[in-house]
């Protein structure tokens, strides 16, 4: 019964949502929105579990003085401070005024966003290092990849303006013909995979997500 009820729920709501996709009626939209609301409701409860998990894992690290436990102290302090300021010193518990709190905004704008931007900017360096590995001309295919990459890169480089008359056409052809064809092939495969997996889940064939092979 512990497994049959979830499987029955998955089947019922899976079939309802498949039908809903083909029905544009207002009532169908209402059902869809009603079911989607449940994702938010479940998400809020799950978030509490998530925060509890974060606190427990961090606390264990601090308590057992595991390697780099100091980072966990920073994580817990950050979490506590943002909750404290976010609730606007608990005066505005039931509205969103805490999000405009001076300290909350300053922590977010001048600590959180710069750190995130720093992480994102690392991508540029990682692209360079990954490109170096990918574009080593060790075989015919790798050489072709290198050539195609060079053409596309020069095409988008503003300093090679005078050279781009012919290269522009070549680069556009590379992007719009072989590249797009490969992308579409992958997308078609993904679409089939999604339908097959959804079917397996709805029919209860694929049930590993319930914790059972």
């Amino acid at each position: 019964m512990k497994r049959q009820i979830p499987l029955a729920l998955v089947f019922i709501f899976g079939v309802i949502l498949i039908i809903q996709y083909f029905v544009p009626h207002e009532k169908s939209e209402w059902i869809f929105e009603f079911l989607m609301d449940w994702i938010y409701i479940i998400g809020i409860f799950a978030l509490a579990l998530g925060i509890w998990s974060l606190i427990r894992v961090s606390w264990d690290k601090i308590r057992l003085r595991r390697e780099n436990w100091q980072y966990s102290v920073v994580a817990l302090l950050g979490l506590t401070a943002m909750i404290f300021f976010g609730f606007d010193y608990f005066r505005n518990f039931f509205n969103a005024a805490g999000l405009q709190n001076f300290m909350f905004r300053h922590f977010f704008d001048y600590v959180m966003i710069p750190i995130q931007s720093t992480m994102f900017s690392l991508l540029a360096f990682f692209i360079a290092s990954a490109s170096y590995r990918a574009f080593r001309a060790r075989s015919l295919l790798a050489s072709l990849l290198l050539l195609a990459a060079l053409i596309v890169m020069i095409r988008f480089n503003p300093y090679f303006g005078p050279l781009t008359a012919y290269l522009e056409q070549t680069a556009s052809w590379l992007l719009n013909v072989p590249n797009l064809a490969a992308k579409r092939a992958i997308v078609i495969g993904v679409g089939l995979g999604i339908v097959a997996t959804a079917l397996k889940v709805i029919l209860g064939i694929e049930r590993a997500y319930l914790g059972k092979d």
Binding site: P24, G43, D60, I115, G193, T197, G211
Partner: protein, 413 residues
């Protein structure tokens, strides 16, 4: 002589005054003829006005069509555009619902189903329409005859999605056929995937090195199919990890995903006969901030030095940051995603990559269960059918078989 001079002077003065008066004021109008600027004639009204419920919608929509005014021709400046007016009764009042430029003959009157909205448009209620031809002079226009009544209502089937329904039904039939076929014991050949074959090897390597396996479920929510496929793979990997008595670390981006992943790993340890080895902290929540999550996972990679990193699910800009850090840490890396833009990054930075649909096939490969392999076989046949249809479409586009191309046309509404 003196009299002659006086008369001449009087005539001269009279003439001067007369000419001066003519210069200072316009001659008086001729009261016998009234000069009136003619008002421009109104343009010809539209004809063949029609209105009907908008098809394949949720309601509150009417499509109005008409034949443009006879004066709406190239080079003419008599028609400025068309205003579409609607009323609840033929007597009015008619309110403007929108305007369209010259040359147009169709307008979608899209209202709202929200009763408190000023744009509210009730279903199953009579409406009347007329189209006004607007000229450059806003006081001059021509109204069409009133059309009505017309009612709008929501449909119970979107006929535009008929090709999708046919495809889904065909594919479902095919999948059920092969699953049934596999259940009866038929041997189904499935092309081996290097990325899947490498999972066992990677777990073995982790066991030998005494290091854990890092499993990243991506940034998708639990409602996404890629994440569901990833749960399935996690279940298989966790079972083998439990059997080999290796550690597994699963940092999660989404709390719902974390909850499901905890249950999946727990059940896998139970299946492997090692419930005692399961620790709830193996699967933990990090944050829902994309790059903060990346920072945390990268820190774990560099501190714990996992023997194997497995990335399965939805990935976005963080894919390369994660995979490059893992490569720097010297871990074997296996990735799988259906995000087309991220696949090249994983291909470059990881040892094995499951491309697109291979992510969904992975669980069937790992489990080798006939029913799961049956659905894979159905996918292969569907792909073959799509390839054949694409080749026919290629020919159809060349020879002008538009009907064939339109068979696959699914409008967005």
């Amino acid at each position: 002589m003196k009299e002659i001079l006086m008369v001449f002077l009087a005539l001269l003065l009279a003439g001067g005054i007369s000419s001066a008066g003519a210069q200072e004021s316009a001659p008086p109008p001729d009261t016998g003829t009234l000069v009136v600027t003619p008002a421009p004639a109104p343009p010809a009204p539209v004809t063949n006005l029609n209105a009907k419920d908008k098809p394949n919608d949720h309601g509150a929509g009417v499509v109005v069509t008409w034949t443009p005014s006879a004066d709406d021709v190239v080079g003419s400046t008599r028609v400025f555009g068309y205003a579409i007016l609607r009323a609840a009764t033929p007597e009015g009042p008619f309110l403007e619902r929108g305007k369209v430029p010259i040359g147009e003959g169709v307008f979608e009157d899209q209202g709202s189903l929200d009763e408190v909205s000023p744009d509210y448009m009730a279903d199953h209620v009579d409406y009347y329409y007329k189209v006004r031809v607007i000229s450059p002079d806003t006081t001059v226009y021509a109204d069409s005859e009133i059309f009505g009544p017309v009612q709008c209502f929501g449909q119970w089937f979107n006929t535009n999605k008929l090709p999708v329904l046919i495809f889904v039904l065909c594919f479902t039939t095919l999948a059920i056929f092969f699953i049934t076929h596999a259940r009866r014991g038929a041997e189904l050949y499935i092309r081996p995937l290097a990325g899947i074959e490498a999972v066992d090897e990677a777990i073995g390597r982790a066991t030998e090195m005494g290091r854990p396996i890092l499993y990243v479920l991506g940034l998708g929510t639990a409602a996404e199919i890629a994440t569901i496929a990833s749960f399935t793979i996690l279940g298989r990997v966790a079972k083998k990890v439990a059997e080999y008595q290796t550690g597994i670390i699963v940092p999660c981006y989404d709390p719902i995903v974390m909850t499901v992943a905890q249950e999946t790993v727990k059940a896998s340890y139970l299946d492997a006969g090692r419930p005692d080895a399961y620790n709830e902290d193996m699967v933990y929540f990090v944050t829902q901030s994309q790059f903060a999550y990346v920072a945390a996972v990268n820190g774990t990679m560099l501190r714990e030095l996992p023997a194997t990193n497995i990335y399965m699910g939805k990935f976005f800009a963080e894919s390369l940051i994660l995979a490059e850090t893992g490569a720097l840490a010297g871990s074997i890396q296996i990735a799988g995603t259906d995000e087309v833009a991220q696949i090249p990054f994983f291909v470059v930075a990881c040892d094995y990559t499951l491309i697109g649909e291979e992510l969904y096939a992975a669980s069937a490969y790992l489990g080798r269960e006939p029913v799961l392999l049956g659905s894979l076989k159905a996918q292969d046949y569907a792909k073959a059918a799509i390839m054949i249809m694409a080749v026919i479409g290629f020919v159809a586009a060349i020879v002008g078989w538009d009907w064939y191309v339109n068979l696959f046309n699914v409008p967005s509404n």
